[in-house]
C-alpha cells in the first residue's frame, strides 16, 4: 500500500497541474505501468486474470498490452486495490432494473485523486475563461444521491470551482422548477447549469408549460450528459440545444456535452468553449486518459479514425482497474474521440438512466 499511496500523491499533484507531465507517450506508459503494478499487486481477481494470460508487470512495457477488463466485470467482482470496505467512496451504476449480477459498483479507494481528476477536467472545459460561476444543478446533490458518481462530481465542482450552488432535482427525481426560475432570475453573473439530457428536457418542458423561459446572464454555460434511450420523450440533440437557447438563453456553442461512466473516474468533454462549433461531436480526454478503438470481433486496434469498440486506460482509476473495455463505439484521432452513440442495446451505465427513471416516475 505504500507504493499505492505514493502513486496517489504524485498523480494527484500531476492532475492538479493539468496532466502535462503525462502528455508524451513514454511518460504515459511509465505511469500506466506503475498503475498496472499497483493493481496487479492489490486486486486479487485482476491478478488472477493477468496470471492466467501470462501478463505481469514484469513483461509489459506499453499500456496497450496491459490486460483490459470488460466494464460488466464491475458487476460481478470487487475490482479495487485493497479491501472494498476500506474504499473512501462507492459508486453504483445507474439502472433501477438490476440486470444480471445486479448493479455495477466502483470502489474509489482515494477520493482526493478522483477530485483532482474531475475538478481539473471540468475547469478546463467548462471554465476556460476563469469564471467562478453559480452552479444551478439538475443533478441531485451528493447528499441526496450518495452513490451517484455524477452527483459526487457536481458536489466537488460546486465546492472548488463555484461561487454558490443550488440543487433543483432531489433524490426522488422531483424537479423544483420554481426554485430554479427564482435562482435564474436572481443571477447577475454567469451561471453553469448541469444535468442529464433528460433532466434538461424535463426542465424545458416545465418552463414551456409555465409559459416561458428564463434569460441567464451572458457568459452562462450548460453541461449536459447522457442520452434518451428508452425514455418516454426522445429529443434530438439539435432540438434540445435549440430549446436550451430559447428557454434558458444559452446558445448551442456554450452547451458542453460530457461523456463519462461510473467505471471510469475521468471524463471527456466537447471542447466547444475553446474551439467553438469545430469542437462539436469531438470528445477530449484529459492527458491522463488514453483511448483507442478496437475491432469488435478480434479486439485488435483499428486504424486511426476508424470506428471500433472504445477501450480506455485511465490513470485516475489507479485504485481500481485502469484498462477498461467498454460497450461504446467511436473513432479515435489525436484530436479526441468521436462517439457514434451509446450502443442502443448496451445496458445503461451512464448516469442518465437512473435519474431519468426517477424523473419519469415522479412526473
Amino acid at each position: 500500500m505504500e507504493r499505492f499511496d505514493e502513486a496517489v500523491r504524485e498523480l494527484e499533484a500531476l492532475f492538479r497541474a493539468g496532466g502535462v507531465a503525462v502528455s508524451s507517450p513514454d511518460a504515459f506508459d511509465a505511469w500506466a505501468l506503475r498503475c498496472f503494478a499497483v493493481q496487479y499487486d492489490g486486486c486479487d481477481p485482476y491478478r488472477a486474470l493477468c496470471d492466467a494470460r501470462g501478463v505481469t508487470p514484469a513483461n509489459v512495457d506499453r499500456w496497450e498490452d496491459v490486460p483490459a477488463v470488460p466494464a460488466t466485470a464491475f458487476k460481478h467482482l470487487d475490482l479495487v486495490v485493497g479491501a472494498p470496505e476500506a474504499a473512501e467512496l462507492v459508486f453504483r451504476t445507474s439502472g433501477t432494473t438490476a440486470g444480471p449480477g445486479g448493479r455495477g459498483r466502483h470502489y474509489v479507494s482515494r477520493a482526493g485523486l478522483y477530485r483532482a481528476a474531475c475538478v481539473t477536467a471540468f475547469r478546463s472545459h467548462l471554465l476556460p475563461d476563469g469564471v467562478r460561476p453559480h452552479l444551478l444543478s439538475l443533478v441531485p446533490s451528493p447528499g441526496d444521491a450518495p452513490h451517484s458518481s455524477l452527483s459526487h462530481m457536481m458536489g466537488m465542482v460546486a465546492e472548488e470551482l463555484c461561487s454558490a450552488s443550488g440543487w433543483y432535482v432531489d433524490g426522488t427525481g422531483s424537479l423544483d422548477v420554481e426554485g430554479f426560475v427564482e435562482a435564474a432570475d436572481r443571477a447577475e453573473a454567469p451561471v453553469v447549469v448541469a444535468g442529464t439530457a433528460f433532466s434538461f428536457v424535463h426542465l424545458l418542458d416545465a418552463l414551456s408549460a409555465r409559459g416561458g423561459g428564463v434569460v441567464l446572464p451572458s457568459g452562462s454555460r450548460v453541461m449536459e450528459t447522457g442520452g434518451f434511450k428508452g425514455r418516454s420523450r426522445e429529443v434530438s440533440r439539435d432540438d434540445l440545444y435549440g430549446m436550451v437557447h430559447t428557454l434558458l438563453g444559452v446558445p448551442p456553442v456554450r452547451v458542453v456535452n460530457e461523456y463519462g461512466m461510473t467505471e471510469l473516474l475521468s471524463q471527456l468533454y466537447e471542447p466547444v468553449l475553446t474551439m467553438g462549433e469545430a469542437g462539436r461531436g469531438l470528445h477530449r480526454p484529459p492527458p491522463w486518459l488514453a483511448v483507442r478503438a478496437l475491432d469488435p470481433v478480434s479486439l485488435d486496434p483499428v486504424p486511426e479514425g476508424s470506428v471500433g469498440l472504445l477501450a480506455f486506460f485511465d490513470l485516475a482509476n489507479l485504485g481500481s482497474i485502469s484498462h477498461l473495455l467498454t460497450q461504446d463505439v467511436g473513432s479515435v484521432t489525436p484530436e479526441g474521440v468521436r462517439l457514434t452513440g451509446r450502443l442502443p442495446g448496451a445496458e445503461p451505465r451512464g448516469c442518465s438512466r437512473a435519474m431519468d427513471e426517477l424523473l419519469a416516475a415522479s412526473s
Binding site: 460488466t72 466485470a73 467482482l77 444480471p100 445486479g102 428508452g230 469488435p296 470481433v297 478480434s298
Partner: protein, 472 residues
Amino acid sequence: MSGRKEPEPFRAWEVPPGARDRLAGHAAFDGVPGVLVPALDPASVREIVDRLAAARDALHSAPVREIARHLGRVGERFLDPGGDLRADALSWISPFSGLSPDMAAAVLDGMASGWTVAALSALLDAEFRDPSVLDRFLPSSAPRLSSLRAMGPRFCFQVVAGSVPGVGTTALIRSLLVKSPTLVKPGLGDVALPVLFLRALREEAPALADAAAVLYWTGGDRALEDAVLGAADLTVVYGGDETVKALRDRMPPSSRLVAYHHRVGFGIVGREGLGADEVGRVVTEVAGSVAFFDQRGCVSPHVVYVEDGGSTSPSRFAALVAGALDAVGRALPIGDMDEIEVSAVQQLRGTAEMLSAAGKGVELHTGRAASWTVVLDPGHDLNDACVGRVVLVRPVADAGEVPALVAPRGAYLQTAGVAGCGTRTAGLAEALARVGVTRVTDFGGVAFPPPWWLHDGEGPLRALLRWTESDV
C-alpha cells in the same frame, strides 16, 4: 464490352397491379446492395390500403379450403429444389438477413414446411372443429348459441420484426386464411420472402393476391405507420417492447392489437438425459436449437439448466455443447453480427474469463471470432441477453427448481426445451405453465414449431378473429 446483364435489382415491395401507380417511385437502398425501396407518402399508402380493403368481397367469395390450397401450392414452390422461386429466395434471404447461405437454406426449409397444402390444411383443422365456419354460419356446439361465423378483420396491418426470415410470410398466410385484406410491413431482415411469396401468389390466384401488399420502409416512420394504423381494425406486431408500445399508443381505441413482443427461451436437461446413451443426442439438439436463426428467434434458448448428479456433469455438458456448436457451425456457419451484438458477447466473454481466473467456477468455451460461446455459469448471474449462439449452462440440483428460477421473467417466457426429465416431465410442464411458459417441447422441436402451434399462447388464426353469433 461485356455482354453480361446487370443483375435484376430486388424491389422491396409487392402491390396489386392497379395500385402500382400509387407508388411515387423508388430509390436505391443503402442498407442492402441491389435493392430498391419504394418512395412512399402517407396519402399513397392510404390509397393502397383502401384498394386492398376493396378486394375483401373477392376473398369472401372463395371457400377457405380453396384459399389454403392456393397458398399451400405457392408455399411448396419454396421447397422445390430445382424451382426458380426457391432459387430467388435463396439468393435474397442472406443479403437481407445477414444469415449465412447455408443457414438461410435451412431456415427456408424449416419455415416453408409450414406453408404446404398439407400443413395449412392441418392448421385449419387444428384451429376449427369445422374450418368452413370461415365461409358461413355453422350450427354451434354450445347449448345456448344457435350458430356462429368466424370473421377475419376488415383490414389487417402486419408489422413484422425481421429477426427471423419467413415470419412475415407466415403472417401473410395467416391473414389471408382468415380472409383479411392485409398490408405486411416486414423488418429489414425478412423482406425477401413475403415479397416473393406474394408475387408467386399473384400468378397462382390473382384475386387472392389483390387483397395483399408488402411494403418495406425503414421502421419507425410514424406518418406512414399512422396512415395504416388508422385504417386497420387489427394490427399484429412482431417486435421489441418499444416497437409494440410505440404502435399501441397510436392506435385508434376501436382497433385491436395482437402483440408478439420480446420473448425468452430456455432449456432444462434432467439426469435421465445425461447418461452415456442419451447425452450425445441431447447435446446435438441443444446446439441446434441455439444455433438456428443465429439465436435471434423468440424460441431460441439462451440458458440451459442442467441437473447435477447425472452421469454427465453440468461442466462436462457445457464442454459437449461447445463441441456440438462448433460442429453445427461447420455445416451452418454463423452469419453477420452487428457491433452491438458482438460487443455484448465480448463483455460476457471477458467477464467469464475474469470470473474463471478468480476461481468462481465459471468455465468459458469459445469458437473462432464470435462464432459461438458457451459459459458454465454456476452463480446464475451472467448476462443471458446475448445473441449469436451464446448459451449459459446453469447447474441446478433438481429440474423442479427451474420454474421458480424463470418465474421473474413472467410475461416474457415462451418456449422451454426439456430433455431427460423422465416421469417428472408432466409435473414440470404444469409448473412451467403456471409461471407463464407457453410451450414445452423437446429440443429437437424448439426451432420450428408446427403451423398450428399456440403462438405465445394463442391459436394463430383464432387470435385474428372476431365471432358473429346468430340465433335467428
